[in-house]
Symmetry: C2
Subunit: 309 residues, 2 copies
Amino acid sequence: MKEIKIFSPASIANLSCGFDILGLCLNDIGDEIIVRKTKEKGIKILKVTGQKLTLDVNRNVAGVSALALLRETNVDCGFEIEIHKGIKPGSGIGSSAASSAGSVFAINELIGKPYSNKELIKFAMEGEKIASGSAHADNVTAVLLGGFTFVRDGLSFDVFKLNNPIELAFTILHPQIELKTSESRELIPKNVSLEKMITQSANLGAFISGLYTEDYDLISRSIKDVVIEPLRSILIPEFETLKEISLSNNALGFGISGSGPSVFALSKGLINAKKIGDLLKNKYKKTGIPFDIHTSNINEKGIKIITTK
Amino acid sequence: MKEIKIFSPASIANLSCGFDILGLCLNDIGDEIIVRKTKEKGIKILKVTGQKLTLDVNRNVAGVSALALLRETNVDCGFEIEIHKGIKPGSGIGSSAASSAGSVFAINELIGKPYSNKELIKFAMEGEKIASGSAHADNVTAVLLGGFTFVRDGLSFDVFKLNNPIELAFTILHPQIELKTSESRELIPKNVSLEKMITQSANLGAFISGLYTEDYDLISRSIKDVVIEPLRSILIPEFETLKEISLSNNALGFGISGSGPSVFALSKGLINAKKIGDLLKNKYKKTGIPFDIHTSNINEKGIKIITTK
């Protein structure tokens, strides 16, 4: 294999009750990445389309993660990368994770898969560090493992897949306002009352249980955030209105995707998710803020290979 | 049915990572309660053996929960209760929960089961309120539902059973020192750092996942407490030594049972639990503090009927 083209998907981190812990891999929305073996050693980023991003391998997240992999791996060739961004940077649906996980996934395939997808997480996180200032494994884990994922401890890469109730579907609205992860992080509290900690962790535990027992009512009762959302949601225009529309139209839950500004509604069935998408679209048009709407079911597989040569 | 004799088991609350959330129902250790229908209406506690406890129905937890049930239920008879305490009050393994849940379970059987076991929780919690000053549903839920139980929200009785990996077994050491729940509660922090909240809730979520996937390694990695145990364990003589002995002898985890002073070791297999029991016994003898040791596997059923007449 000399060349591989992959689809590296968007993802939702946090999912209301699982700050820095939960991740979910989406379908249809993502980056396409082509990687080719080259005689010359090292990494080159040939082009980035779809978004204006640097070609500097030491500053582009796909380059940074690829270099991290090469530092630990004996290969007698180099790689050139083309990135077609389908995800807007700063949208809150894992743009940097898709690129940093995508490049190392592609290289791993080209060199005969010495690493499992789980083992690739540590390289992908090097890219994430560049993007957000601190390394969080939630998005890259979702992209590399697929489905709902759990980060027990990001530092020791103690991460795993959860069960995926197949009827769950997501509506994502991305208001195109600038909201940097680092800025959004400044809003989070340093301390939490014990009472809120108990409420939040009870919801997380109940959500996990709901995923395993495929209890959609329990999932709905527990996908809530009493710690971060009340503080961060004020940065997102019309957050409460969108939430109200979603929850009064059969959404199981509604929250901030990652550190925002994207928001998500969780529904049972793609038809419900699309209906909520239409309602949110009609409402958001009136704000004058440019936005994107996506609907997606669960991507259980994660990154997919499109073609190989 | 005029008379029923039941076994109402001990339970472990909190289980390290699930403060006020997790519960576990034990086998073999518990109270025996006999309840008889009487012509005279109301509740009478005829006798309590095994421990010195009040016969006053308004102050004995079994009376308080029974009265709560009768207030909501039309019955044309009364009930007399005999309690044979097998659990020492103040031990931290759900003494009050066994009695308060036991009396309402027995009465419910005698009147033709108008309530599910889950519906009995709210009555049992009235007894718990008397015992600890505030109502926590973790122990009564474990006693009434059996197995590992989860309290998402005690106020709305949003509680459920988790999966029970059958090989799990517990060693409980009860140092007979006085340690009231209300006093032990004073030691818990009002606020928790966000970092600790994330660690603690990641462990809770991972533990729940481990129960469903029966992943004993994951259960072991996640049954940890970075919030409460560091503060409360100082009240329990030799806590760190007991923990070290347990963990270096194949225990999956070790922690405080409820608000203490009992401690528990979690093992894979009753043989391991008994071996740890012997080691802890030999060590604790040297302290001069009187103590009890119990070993138990998971009681999946909860309260059991012994005889009926």
